[in-house]
Symmetry: C2
């Protein structure tokens, strides 16, 4: 793989323009309005895999959005790498905060990205990082250096909880058989501080509806006498965390893995500057669970965040209404050993139990996923670490992420193989936010690093 | 005025169809999109006053929506009645809860209204009740029975706090000179229980904005470590009332008028059935300040209601976002002696003081108004009471309303005359709600009652 850097250098403009074409398609899985765009995107991914050298590529229907499957099997006796990624993206709103339209990609230089970054929804999460693997395959096939078999499983429901991927895997266990699963849907600490994600948080995503009177009322005639579902919802949500920002749902912490003082001390060694962190976000102070550092709050501790809330009159001006209903979307990030299904039930039971008689509540579980932790003493991790060392000239730091890829723990259970989370994004890429972007340097560095992993891993299995 | 009932009977179909034409114009003062419809409505009101017999009618510009002024002066030595009403209406949303479009009036029979009710935004509040006075004037002029002078002041900003009416009054004190102010913008207890409103609550309407990070963040990467403006807003709002639903803003109750045991006992005599009340609203229980009855909570006690709340992702499906901002519209109903400007300041200072360091808050005052209580031992009240007795065959009950007409107390201060609140609507008319309606029986009864008031009042001033 010694000429990978020069190959990337030679083809980088095409690599960028191909990704830009893919980013132009609004593949928003959460919004049924975009069903057709989801198909168009799946077809574009299919074509790219064929061009990159896959022998077999198919769009596999599921009860939801389809999965794109591709493979190149060079020798049944060689090990097989399964690449997972997703072609769906987060909804782009609030649109008015984007400096350029989310599905009209533009390249802009930034302080952090003097070589330019691609600004578009999905630039990093996950079209950009997924496409690195397509281009890495292109390099290995065009230069006849593919050292093992490769399979791709690119889904379209990651941003809505991979609802049907479990179903797809259960129905394709043989087809998906592999020796290691490679995923680029995470980040690294900094451009000059490469890292490999060794842990992910689980997720339980709930939606609640609080209903008071059977119609919107005049807040003058009924205010003070009839339960206002918004006032009551705020009290219910506020009570879900105490003054130390501990979550108050009974049983919530029962299975939370407590890290040893040694492990916490090791975490604290990761480079982190709280002043810089606060300045980047324009906040005067951080905010979280008492007794834990910012890094710990964002990785090894469970959380409860309201992702959306609405009710009553939200238009221009004033309306003196006591509304009939109020709603909220609430998600909890979970840590190893917390069972998201159990947590969703605990949340539901608790939320129903704290509702005053004056209202009725409905609680729905949107989706969820298990947390995941990977050991660093296996062949796959070592192969990845060496690959980063080769392309970055530095040994990467193993790092626990606060994010969730709900499907990862299922991969391990169902496919019995280790997962390597090789992420090349940065915290500042604004994934899930307006002005999401992906540094061209990071994109190309990913394409350069991946083939080294294939070689190192194949060698380790001889 | 003895033939008023027969006159109304003879012309009722035209009275209804004229009102329906007025209701077709969407005069939504809160939404600047409807600026032209506001003008069209003002012109329609002007025409109707001219037809009813006013000698002078003019559309008076203000810094906001115009005021329609009309007058018929028959003799400078006779007393003058000033009629106040408003031609603007509340925004109709949520639109999906209307059984027929809010600005396409339909007549439907209901259990309570066997003679039919007009369903449309503004049917009762206040186009319908305002138009009763136009038709009452028509009767008195066409039958040469107008016993005194009359002036009309119909504004277009009542639903947004009558922002510029104070300015208009201050600049037209001579023109608006009168002996009594007559307003129909309230309700009565029941069709068979006529009542006159003797008290109104004041209002302070605030809007708050809570800002956390400078952009929407990924709730996995930042959740638990960065203050979530929605979580924090719910805690802040929840803390504004305690476990007894007492408002916690320091100084909020300092000037609240406490009623005597006698007054409270008298209130308790008003016909009220809590089971019926709960059933009408489909609620299992009422909800409010400990130590007070439902009637008291809705009239003699101040309140704090969230009229609207929004933040984060409120679309279909799920988005794991930690938003940059969260908002709420919060209004407080005030009772006699509470100064809405002082309360707005207390709210602002308190809300800013309880914000954690992790967020910034902005608090804006939309508008407000003073509470009002009228005595029942003056000529004007007696004239009104006798008028109801004549048309309903029953002595009306004096009643305190929970609603607010911010401008009423200003009338008394600026124009030095008593205000009579002669309302013919019902609690069930769904004003400010979807499917607002006004019973045709109530509408015609109002037209029948008003001329008797003119006669009684004119006689009392001889």
């Amino acid at each position: 793989m010694d000429n990978v850097r020069s190959y990337v250098e030679e083809h980088k403009d095409r690599f960028v323009s191909e990704l830009i074409d893919l980013l132009k398609i609004p593949s928003i899985s959460a919004d049924s309005k975009y069903k057709n765009e989801m198909i168009t995107t799946a077809e574009a991914v299919k074509t790219s895999l064929e061009k990159a050298g896959c022998d077999l590529v198919e769009i596999c229907e599921t009860p939801g959005h389809p999965v794109v499957y591709g493979e190149k099997i060079i020798d049944k006796n060689l090990p097989t790498v399964l690449v997972y990624g997703h072609y769906d993206v987060q909804p782009p709103d609030p649109l008015d905060l984007w400096n350029s339209p989310p599905f009209e990609p533009v390249i802009k230089e930034t302080e952090l990205h003097p070589d330019g970054a691609i600004f578009a929804r999905g630039a990093c999460d996950d079209k950009g990082q997924m496409y690195m693997h397509v281009k890495a395959l292109e390099y290995m096939t065009k230069t006849n250096q593919l050292p093992c078999n490769v399979k791709f499983m690119i889904e379209g429901e990651e941003e809505v909880g991979s609802e049907h991927l479990g179903w797809f895997i259960e129905n394709n266990l043989e087809k998906l058989k592999n020796d290691v699963i490679l995923i680029s849907d995470t980040g690294m600490i900094a451009k000059d501080v490469p890292s490999i994600t060794t842990g992910l948080r689980g997720l339980s995503y709930m939606e609640v509806e609080v209903t008071g009177p059977n119609r919107d009322l005049h807040s003058g005639l009924y205010g003070g006498a009839v339960g206002n579902p918004i006032n009551i919802l705020t009290k219910m949500i506020a009570s879900l965390t105490d003054e130390n920002n501990h979550i108050t749902i009974p049983g919530f912490y029962d299975k939370v893995e407590e890290l040893s003082a040694e492990e916490r001390a090791k975490m604290a060694e990761a480079p982190y500057d709280e002043e810089k962190y606060k300045n980047k976000l324009d906040i005067n102070d951080v905010y979280g669970e008492a007794g834990y550092s910012t890094l710990e709050r964002g990785s090894i501790r469970p959380t409860l965040d309201v992702n959306g809330i609405w009710g009553g009159y939200i238009g221009e001006g004033a309306k003196t209404v006591l509304p009939s209903k109020a709603f909220a979307k609430i998600s909890m990030r979970l840590v190893p050993d917390q069972d998201w299904k159990e947590i969703s039930e605990l949340f539901t039971k608790h939320f129903e139990s704290i509702a005053p008689n004056a209202v009725n509540v409905k609680v729905n579980t949107h989706h969820g996923g298990y947390a995941y932790v990977t050991p660093i003493d296996n062949d796959a991790y070592k192969a990845a670490s060496k690959a980063y060392e080769k392309s970055f000239g530095k040994i990467p730091i193993p790092q626990r992420s606060g994010g969730s890829i709900p499907i990862v723990s299922l991969f391990e259970k169902a496919l019995k193989s280790k997962i390597i989370l090789m992420g090349f994004g940065l915290d500042t890429d604004a994934i899930h936010s307006p002005n999401e972007h992906f540094g061209i340097w990071n994109y190309l560095k990913g394409i350069e690093t991946i083939p080294h992993f294939y070689k190192n891993f194949a060698d380790s299995q001889k």
